[in-house]
Amino acid sequence: MIGFLLRRLGWTVLILIGVSVLVFLLMQLVPGDPVRTMLGMAATGERVEEVRHQLGLDRSLPIQYLDYVAGVLHGELGQSLVLSQPVSSILFPKLLNTVILSAGSLLICLLVGIPLGVLAGARQYSLFDRGSMFLSLAGASVPVYWAALVIVSIFALQLGWFPTSGMYDTRNPGGLADVLHHLVLPAAAAAVVPTAVIARMARGTMVEALQGDHVRMLRASGVPERSVIWRHALRGIMPPVVNIVGLQVGYLLGGIIFVEVVFNWPGLGGQLYTSITAGDMPLIQSGVLFIALVFVLVNLITDVSVALLDPRTRKAA
């Protein structure tokens, strides 16, 4: 187990280096001269060279990359071109908001997707199984921005149960209840696709698990079906299900960008959208980096949880 953890951590470090290289290179793809863009057409060639030197952009790419990584490690992410504020002070509060929205959404995925899949798998080929699996097939194809708009239209505009946008009430902000009230719709919108995929996967693993020899043994020992399914079989499918959930967090984080735009949720995705519209490259760069870091961390947690969930790998050296 210790060996596994060390190997997994080492791999994570390598991936993080890869991610930082990729994000750095991505910015090199930007057409045009960033300094020129920053200073405007009126700036003299001399001034451009001066700023280029100040920013270290006249050095070789590897050196620039090392500069960049050193900055990131010190929490220095550069200056926003548009907001003239440090990128870090803009993004860190938004990171927290995105994590809140993701967590809420993930909770819905787990609370709906897993029971749905388990029930469908336990009643293979029943009407419930067929119905829920058709729904989840359709759900997996839903464009998240469409889901967000439909949800706003129904639950905010027509029924008026929840606010259309934002994270706090504008007149009377604050409090957990206020945030939760604002959280429901965006979290649900972002959860649609991952929930559907998780339900399908959970069903498949459940069907397989219920054909296991130990399940037959439990049934032959008089263990009630309820306990066979929810205690034994569910425990058995946890490692693969957690694995799928971890992968689905990737789709969740991608979808949240759209959801934050539609709901004006003050998170990384909404910020990314604003920055893209404004052409604020330093903010885009760090926004992408932040979301990727969250996903890398989630993958690490997923892999370790899967290993811990299985006594066969847990005890192994």
Partner: protein
């Protein structure tokens, strides 16, 4: 979706002598199995119909997709003469959807096909006698998988800038690692099988083995994956347009239309956004169902005669 498809295995293999014959009959069997699959056939019909409508849009669309009547804006679906209603600028939504297919389908299907071709080269080159070098290539691709796929596409599109070609490039680059991994995995699996060994013993060159033995067997999982991926990509590409980093207005791309509809949604006119979104959903679902159908059809265990 991708994780689900990556695990799908290639078709059963055969000794070299009968490989060619079995392959043909395998695709033949698959075609027959596919034709019996009502859901897959329905999905195919939907896709063909949507494509035909998009191709024929200049001749069959009732109105100009770009010119609207400002006095008749936001009329609801069912208005006489305007089956699906009018948008915020008084443009006929049905006509825009018909024309929009030209953008939305192109921007999804072309990158999938191009990425598949590129993936065949990368995946087979690393998978067939690639050894550690091939593995290293796959490790590098793992870095891309550390990004949520949607985020990666958005970042690329944002950097490259909006526009038809840029969007296709952004989407295509995003897909290459995913498809390469599928090709790599099946190439490694197939290379280990005895018919490849037999062909080599019979004096076939590497290129011949790659082309005649491996390519057909690697192709089927890629076709399954690509079809299902197209479902994801149609949603993704329209999403880029929705965010303003894909097709640019006033082009009637379905994502652009959904974004337009968002502006008037709060005024209570939901149809402008929801109708194009529904079309994206239906086309994506059709790709997914067709992908499932092809997968089942290629699975020898499910081809009951």
């Amino acid at each position: 979706m991708s994780s689900e498809i990556i695990t799908s295995s290639g078709p059963a293999t055969s000794p070299a002598r009968v490989a060619g014959w079995q392959r043909r009959s395998q695709w033949g069997l698959a075609m027959r199995a596919l034709r019996r699959d009502k859901v897959a056939v329905a999905a195919l019909v939907v896709l063909v119909a949507v494509t035909l409508v998009a191709v024929l849009a200049p001749w069959i669309s009732p109105y100009d997709p770009l010119v609207g009547d400002p006095r008749a804006r936001l009329l609801p679906p069912g208005t006489p003469g305007h089956l699906l209603g009018l948008d915020g600028q008084g443009r006929d939504i049905l006509s825009r959807l018909m024309w929009g297919g030209r953008y939305s389908l192109t921007v999804a299907v072309v990158p999938v096909v191009c990425a598949a071709l590129l993936a065949l080269v990368i995946g087979m080159a690393s998978g067939y006698r690639g050894g550690r070098r091939g593995e290293a290539v796959m490790r590098v691709l793992d870095v891309v998988f550390a990004f949520p796929i949607v985020l990666f596409a958005i970042a690329l599109a944002a950097v490259l800038g909006a526009g038809l070609v840029n969007t296709m490039v952004a989407v295509g680059i995003t897909l290459v690692p995913y498809m390469s991994r599928v090709v790599y995995t099946s190439t490694v699996q197939e290379s280990a099988k005895e018919y490849v060994e037999a062909a080599r013993a019979a004096g076939a060159t590497d290129l011949e083995i790659l082309r005649k033995q491996l390519l057909p067997n690697v192709l089927s999982p890629l076709v399954v994956y690509g079809t299902t991926l197209a479902g994801l990509v149609i949603v993704l590409a329209a999403g880029l347009s929705f965010l303003g980093v894909g097709i640019t207005p006033p082009a009637p791309d379905w994502g652009v239309m959904t974004a337009d509809g968002r502006q008037v949604l709060l005024e209570g006119y939901a149809h402008v956004a929801t109708v194009p979104g529904l079309v994206i959903l239906v086309v994506a679902l059709a790709f997914n169902l067709l992908g499932d159908g092809i997968r089942d059809a290629l699975d020898p265990h499910k081809q009951t005669s």
